[in-house]
Amino acid sequence: MVARHEKAVRRGLLIWYGQLTTSRRLALRGAALAAVPGAWLLVFLIMPLTAMVAVAFAGRGSYGEVVWTLSTGNFRRLAGFGVLGWSADYLLILGRSCWVALVTTVLSLLLAYPLAFFIAARPRRTRYLWLAAVIIPFCTNLVVRTYAWMLLLSSQSPLARLAAAVGLTDPGSALYPSRAAVYVGMVGSFLPFAVLPLYTSVERLDWSVVEAAQDLYASRLRVFLQAILPQTLPGLTVALILTFIPAMGAFVVPDLLGGARYMLVGNLIQQQFGSSRDWPFGAAVSLGLMLLTLAGLFILRRRGTAGGAA
């Protein structure tokens, strides 16, 4: 009996969830399980990224084909060093995209907060109806939704007529293409991303902490900032990420509602892969956008772990 046990231990047997196996077989099984998502990541993330990085360092032929030379020309062009001297055009576009994404995120959060509290305060029965109302736009196509906005903002619409009557715009003109229209469309499309994570945080709020703050002489603002806001921070962080990052690369909404004059980085990239046929430059701009986004995420994480509690 003892001898058999010793032999088993020497062969490296172990029990895993009731099954007798060896650690080697266990490792193989783990590898097999990880292989499927690994393959997915390889095919759909790593390979495209590698291709993009490779193309970013390539050049453009006269007919728009890719010429495989190693050069940093695209990046220099992105930084503004063009044929006619230095111009900040592309940097401006990058900056404008950051700004639009930021404003969209802030506006979305400002709207999402009261909405999250409102939905969380509804009785259980109607709560899911409200959540459904927020989620339904998800199920419709973004382009179709944006076209709907175009209709709403066209010169014949009641909204445009109201704006003309109040004196904001000239009579008979549409409310798009314009910067305001872009913001409206962006916030509209990103609001569900902002509301849902915030709602989950708000729903599990510990109200006794809020009462404790009131008991300790805090004004309403202080109660919000010190008792409510910190508790919603996890949901807020997710909402921020889910809004800001897609907003950085958005191109459908700015294209349709902003027109040709209001170019964001998404439009720029789309153009390179479309009419301009400059894939290497497009890849370079995409890489630039990706690095910028990652930098933003990095700063966010640093702030989060340094400033907040563990």
Binding site: S208, V209, A218, R222, Q226, L233, A309
Partner: protein, 363 residues
């Protein structure tokens, strides 16, 4: 943070000044509250004197926590008035009342460390930084929490969190401290220690404390006065001794400790009961009712006692270490006795129910 003399005791952030030096700190008058159609509090009236430790004792759902929250300002009473140091505070919001609360789940701010938690109230009132640090240091020292000042709530044990909650409330030197079942989350051994510590702390500070609990042991240990509540109304008020020795109703008699309840009919100036003829300490008005006597007050005698004698036979003996519980027929009467060896099942005994311990209940 030492106890202050009564005259200067009433100066909170709202600048309340005691109108009369001997006026009670807290006066609740005619308070009523309903949640929808459910009437949770009926006409509650009581006072708490300065430096008194008052406990609201009652079973779950009797309205004691609602009453506490009304006093704290976290709920609004439908009727009645709450007065603090002579000033009516019924309509004041919670953040303007010089009252602080220790919550049942402590409600510490999870994103602030212990020091910042305790400093919260002072910072809300815009105390200068050096004063804040000094006071917080004193409060933490008083509750022996100094070494943990930089820790966060999730790194503390239940007992430590409770101390932080206490420090956070007391550092603001409130006129009244409210405690909502503060020991319910602690284990039994720790609870006993903390009860004594709380009582000593209150004596040292000389502040008025109002505690809410369903644990009658706790109420007896810490309080100067106990208010027994039931179904939204006050059943009885008195010192722990008064409420224990002289309960007014079956509910109070059975809620605090155990009691022998004997149905009695009044006849010729004494009480006729199933266990014999008894004379209570004070004759009641009713002709038919209940008498109560505590198990430890029934004396086992070798010979028939002169008055209030009951002849019985021991049916059951339960050994409890420091005492023995006897169940004696008729009744059965529950008797607590010293653990002597000659009391065994079947033995005939004489019991004396002394009149001063035999209480006539009102129902």
């Amino acid at each position: 943070m030492s106890g202050r003399p009564a005259e200067t005791a009433c100066r909170g952030p709202s600048g309340l000044v005691r109108l009369a030096p001997d006026a009670p700190d807290l006066a609740v008058a005619g308070v009523g509250k309903s949640f929808g159609t459910v009437r949770v509090l009926h006409d509650i009236t009581f006072t708490a004197a300065s430096g008194e430790f008052v406990t609201l004792l009652g079973p779950s759902g009797c309205g004691k926590t609602t009453l506490l929250r009304i006093i704290a300002g976290l709920e609004r009473a439908d009727e009645g008035e709450v007065t603090l140091c002579g000033r009516v505070i019924t309509a004041l919001p919670a953040n303007q009342r010089p009252i602080n609360t220790v919550f049942q789940n402590y409600a510490l701010f999870p994103h602030l460390n212990v020091h910042e938690n305790v400093a919260f109230g002072l910072r809300s009132r815009r105390f200068p930084c050096d004063q804040v640090d000094r006071r917080v240091g004193q409060a933490l020292a008083m509750l022996q929490m100094e070494p943990l000042a930089r820790r966060y709530p999730h790194q503390l044990s239940g007992g430590q969190k409770q101390r932080v909650a206490l420090a956070r409330a007391l550092v603001n030197e409130p006129e009244l401290l409210l405690l909502d079942e503060p020991m319910s989350a602690l284990d039994a051994k720790l609870r006993a220690e903390v009860q004594l510590e709380l009582r000593r702390l209150q004596r040292r500070l000389g502040k008025t404390f109002l505690l809410v609990t369903h644990d009658q042991d706790e109420a007896m240990t810490v309080s100067d006065r106990v208010i027994v509540m039931r179904d939204g109304a006050i059943e009885q008020t008195g010192t722990p001794a008064e409420v224990y020795e002289r309960p007014v109703s079956r509910f109070v008699a059975e809620f605090l400790g155990s009691a022998n309840l004997i149905t009695a009919v009044r006849q010729n100036g004494c009480m006729q009961t199933a266990v014999g003829r008894l004379v209570p300490g004070r004759m009641p008005d009713w002709t038919q009712g209940t008498l109560a006597i505590r198990p430890e007050r029934i004396l086992v005698r070798r010979q028939r006692p002169a008055a209030n004698a009951v002849a019985g036979q021991v049916r059951e003996v339960v050994y409890r270490g420091d005492h023995v519980d006897l169940f004696v027929e008729p009744g059965p009467l529950r008797v607590r006795s010293a653990p002597t060896t000659d009391l065994h099942v079947g033995r005939h005994v004489w019991l004396e129910l002394r009149p001063e311990h035999l209480v006539a209940l009102r129902d």
